[in-house]
Amino acid sequence: MSSVPRLTQWFGAALSRAPRPRAAPADWTLWRAACSGDAASAAGLVQALTPQAYGLALRLLGRREDAEDAVQEAFLRLWRATPRDDRSAQLSTYFNTIVINRCRSLLASRRELATEAEALRDLQDAQQHGEAHAAPHPTAGLGPGGPHARLHDGLSRLPPRQRMAVAMWAFADASVPEIARALELDPNAAHQLLHRAKLALRAHLEGADS
């Protein structure tokens, strides 16, 4: 027997003994099928991801048109994504991260995430006069006075940066250093921001309970 077939045989056997890669979660399989043109998979994925993503964008941005744009752009990015390193994350978490990034860019362009003293003062004045969110946050389908409505109300009362920090933490599994990087803060400041946001939400929920 020549050495080449022997080598091929050994290589084949070694490959069959090698641990197989972990199977991708079902939602990533659906994503791959949708990216290769399967209509049913695309519809399933859109139906599964849109409600939470749109709700998140709406809560962060406050305007329907902006939220719709953010979700549509996020889907475009999802179809073109090459998330090899993120396979361990859930697809919904990965998608929420894209949505939050889009929202962050939009908010930055609206200067709602500004840190400069002047911009913050302007924003504070606008909020005090009830102008910051001219369009009221929609609450359809949450049920008046229910826990969902209370949490929604608590979120809408948070300042934009706190709301962004808590959204990144809750929906995109972002750590404090990641929040700090995204909001251009030092980690201590990001930790404080997130802590204050959580406290405010809890206080709102408990205050509403009592």
Partner: protein, 122 residues
């Protein structure tokens, strides 16, 4: 008093409480239903799917079409090469057959021994 019976470190308990609260808050936030009406969500989903058809499905179909044509071309190319080979073989065979010697002409071209002897050449 056994160490197990000692009251746990209050800092640790506070941290556990905080982690439990965090987990509960994150779950509550994730469970928040979309504040948008169903019709609005449906319209948005339709737009997203239309975008998907335009950006993903159509190019994928085009790509599939191109690869089918290329594959067909490759299969057609094989047949074409085989036919060309056969035709070349046939042409060669015909050429050889046409170039075969004519026995009558060969006979005529052979030198006449008797006339050569008469002419004193042999």
């Amino acid at each position: 008093m056994s160490p197990d019976a000692l009251p746990s470190d209050p800092t640790e308990t506070r941290e556990e409480d905080s982690a439990a609260h965090d987990l509960a808050l994150r779950r509550q936030l994730r469970a928040l239903p979309s504040p948008a009406p169903a019709a609005e969500l449906e319209a948005l989903s339709r737009r997203v799917l239309a975008q998907w058809r335009e950006q993903v499905a159509a190019p994928a179909r085009h790509e599939a079409g191109v690869s089918t044509v290329l594959a067909a071309g490759r299969a057609g190319g094989r047949w074409l090469a085989m036919s060309a080979g056969l035709m070349l073989c046939a042409a060669l065979a015909i050429g050889l057959w046409l170039q075969r010697g004519d026995p009558v002409l060969d006979e005529l071209a052979r030198p006449d021994v008797l006339s050569q002897m008469a002419a004193g050449e042999m």
